[in-house]
Symmetry: D3
Subunit: 240 residues, 6 copies
């Protein structure tokens, strides 16, 4: 099994970490290939960034299919380009946001997402609405740290922990989702820390969730519905 | 008042008709400027087309603001780029799909949209979900005519009438919305024809609905919320 | 274009102000005629008041149609008599509450209404439910000032501002709606004041919203659906 | 226990039948007093009729309270005046529509209402929405017989049976509600008839449901919430 | 009329109190028979307890039918075994939780449940979802007292009052439901106490609500739908 | 990794097939142990059967934990005992119904379940409601074949295909879910057959879906929330 992880960003800051992390998510028989964009935004923190990253992300998805990949992950919690990519390729395409929300919907009566900035809250809420799980979403909170500053892991974990407790206590969330794929490698640690404070709740890592769902789809030999994601019609399309 | 209508397509097939039609929608004090795209798809008939049209549409929206326009319409029923454009400009941005659905929600207990192809049904449904009126949406039907073939008005009207009757009888719709901005200039005629057949229901023209809402927003001096549509964060962004 | 604004109240306290305000909402080609009731309540602050104002409001609506008006506005945020009036006339009938909620639904992911008294909260909530936008309604707050005391504009504005900030901060509203048509002429000022405090959000004036929607309906030549609002059946009806 | 049944109509066609029927619904210790209106419509078949019947219905409700009644029923499936009456009296007020829908919601995963005319469908749907059980409502069907023609019981039963079978088969309803209080005394017979045809489903009589709920409220010593139905504010109110 | 009240518990702590209380809920013509379980949990405070109590509860329900009872109440707020019992008997089966929520849905725009322990909150929420009234449920609060400790009535009432005020003020509930059938005989007193503090809201006793609904069903001669609750299929079933 | 698959049935008809099938779902490093019940029903085809199977299923779940298993699957589409088992063990517990519905929610705008008998439709619908994905559920259809007769694979496939096409055409489903874990080993074949007929849609096998989700949970080191599924309180519990 071979899958392509597309980071919808022009910086390669996260590539190595993603490569290392994904090795933990899959077994030895699975090859994980990480790609970032040739053009687009340095990170996705709003609708504008999403709009700019999708065209090249779609090219990367088509490339992945052409190069024999079995599936594609759009590695950003806002699921940029997932719907469009599903139209242009015949292999399964998975988003990190929707994958996490599905796990969280199953494990608890309600869940909260803790993300980076307030800018992305409406986008995440809209993902929950088109996915159909909005009634399980207790709240979306944020640590107020831009994506590219998540490299300071200690600061990030501290801020995440504080918001997570508020989500559990004030918003009555019963499960937690890390709302940015840049928040890598801290889910288990935060889960343990919360349990020590009396909150035995699942903390979902969105990259891991996406990897899990994609592996499952490939194994099950199912992909997105072609009634929902029809192939693009034939006609002229030009590029900048 | 001056507003910019952006057709998210590289063809100029509809420009003149749009210019003429919009003259009926506004008063003499309003200047309507129609623009189409420099690069992108020939029409928007799916998520892929939407992804391709948005980057240039956003440039056109910024240009409109720089050139002193008071508001922007994304003239396509799927509302491509509306959310992203609201982040990048300080003038109101309006979509044809959402505008029509709001009128229809008010005028009847339920409404149906009749659009061009099955490809766009999920996109339209998602617009209704993020707008919040999905409980009023009885069905989305289609005439199975691609956008660029809508020039055959007689064929289009015949197909629309047939689907509209099915929406009223089978889907229990009480109002109707033309689900493509290429279906210009036929709403009133279809409304009359339906009334003659015993169905006295409103038929909403999406271009007219968008023009009406935008005029209203400008007059009321309100625009999109900056809490929902925050200005893009500062960072590197590159283009093809 | 000629439209009739019906104030569902027996006092004429607001007539002149309404006349002056509506002149700002329409262009010169539009004649606005303001009428108040011959019998009914002094203001609408509950279901009982609504019940008492509707019979005469319906007579006024029929009168408006007979006198050649192109449309009718029921000028009260609870939309009294709007549904019934739609049955008895063939011209469009519009309510201030529903009109405002539609604009607010489009401009933000969520909105709050700030009204006069707690008495009307359930009525306003019910308007949102039959309109279909209840999922966008973050909260309904009140200034605890009866309609007839709204003449003290400074007191009203101060109270509105305080509740609006609570709506934005505590209830996570992203847009605001003035929840009484007696709160005339202050929306823009409050919008500016909020922006100065860091909240760049739309503040919707319900009278202006209703005028905008009605103008649009008349221009578009559409009205309420006769499948939803069927003409009254023939039979005996007596009056007090 | 003494309760007042108010028929929101100026004709006394149904009074005696209602008196006789209600005797079956209550025990000997309960006195049932039936009243019709002094002015208003001959039947309630739309929003206009509802508007006309409510003012006198409210007077009758206050009268009932003043004369020592323990509770009031608004005997019409559209629940006219129920919300307003709850504001003006301190005794419980119950509607036939809401009472029936509550029983039906409990007894099956979905239910259909079969009413008189298409005119009242939106009103009934709105009752289900403000009550909160709209997700259980499979459909609202009609026999196309005006209220005052329901005296032909055989014709009514035949039409009801036909529509009920369609509700069960086509709309996947699992319980049935008679959607007009003029459809008296036939629920059990129709229930038996359906069972003989293989459909063992409850058929709810709305008058019986309302009587049952009102008896329960009085016995339990609870009534409508004064936070939802606040007492009318003090001010001028005039009458025709 | 004869009905069987089944307490899904192996202790007989509550039997006498239930017997006495139910005598107040019904008239002299109604015989109330109280039964507890032969095997199962000492109280129902979670899904595990529910699973353990249902098999014997079903045997008791069948026994009730065989002994000529007209209906059955599962006397626990989580409604254990209600759905299964509806399959195995032909007499109406009623739960205390669903019965209370129906009354509360009618009497106010929103209601809160105050129950014993946090363990049962998800179960109660699920009852509201399958019943279809979840949109009316403002919150579920708890007094943090196990069922078997409810015998200290003063402590219980004090804790209930405190949580009820929080439900009204913080959660915007307009009606209240006692969320455990062990909270017997205090609803009216709490209702009075709240009114003295300015909150004139209904407080629903779940046992009383269930008795009222069951009496009504029997009188109306309706029971659960056999399309929703089909008779068990023929096949082998073994017991421990 | 070691997981325990519990068939909530006293027959061992399916054990071997399940053992063989699950070998395809997992890798070599995963040991799958299949168990059936000591007492309970021969199959789960209604609420009564569910009630009878859960007590022993819970014992089997505890046994699995005691014997060092990493997770448990309740192998029946109605997810019997899943919620209760989550309370009594500290390892993840997964149901086949919820797992399938999550995958289907992601892959298409709507999905249908095709199950065995009408008896289980309400149970499956309730699973979708407590999971929170009911808005994506287009319909639940059935082949009218009891679980134990599913051994005739050809008859089953033919019936499934017929109902699936109806779900796609009549109910507008865009994805399909096999609604019984006895429908083993036919999902891919049916998916291929549908694609040949022009319907390129995913067909989800519920056993495979459950195995995939459980593997993911164990790998991610997350389990059900202890705020939603609290450990049972200490008290007396007796068994038959």
């Amino acid at each position: 099994m071979k899958f392509r992880v597309i980071l919808p960003t022009i910086v390669d800051t996260f590539n190595e970490e993603v490569q290392v992390e994904f090795a933990h998510y899959v077994d030895d028989a699975t090859e994980v290939q990480v790609r970032h964009l040739d053009y687009g935004p340095a990170s996705v923190e709003g609708e504008y960034d999403e709009a700019l990253c999708v065209p090249n992300l779609l090219e990367k998805a088509i490339e992945a299919q052409n190069e024999g990949c079995d599936g594609v992950i759009s590695l950003c919690f806002a699921d940029p380009g997932v719907k469009a990519a599903r139209e242009v390729v015949n292999i399964p395409v998975v988003g990190a946001g929707e994958s996490s929300m599905l796990f969280a919907s199953m494990l608890a009566r309600s869940f909260s997402v803790v993300t980076v900035l307030p800018n992305v809250i409406p986008m995440i809420e809209n993902v929950s609405k088109t996915l159909g799980v909005q009634s399980k979403l207790a709240s979306i909170r944020y640590v107020n740290i831009p994506v590219l500053d998540l490299v300071d892991k200690e600061k990030m974990k501290e801020a995440l922990f504080a918001e997570m407790v508020k989500a559990l206590v004030d918003d009555k969330a019963h499960a937690l989702v890390l709302g940015c794929t840049g928040m890598t490698g801290v889910a288990s640690e935060l889960q343990d820390q919360l349990r020590e404070h009396g909150y035995d709740v699942p903390v979902i890592d969105p990259s891991f969730a996406a990897a899990t769902i994609l592996k499952g789809l490939i194994a099950m030999r199912v992909k997105q519905s072609r009634l929902t994601y029809m192939a693009p019609t034939e006609k002229a399309r030009t590029f900048r």
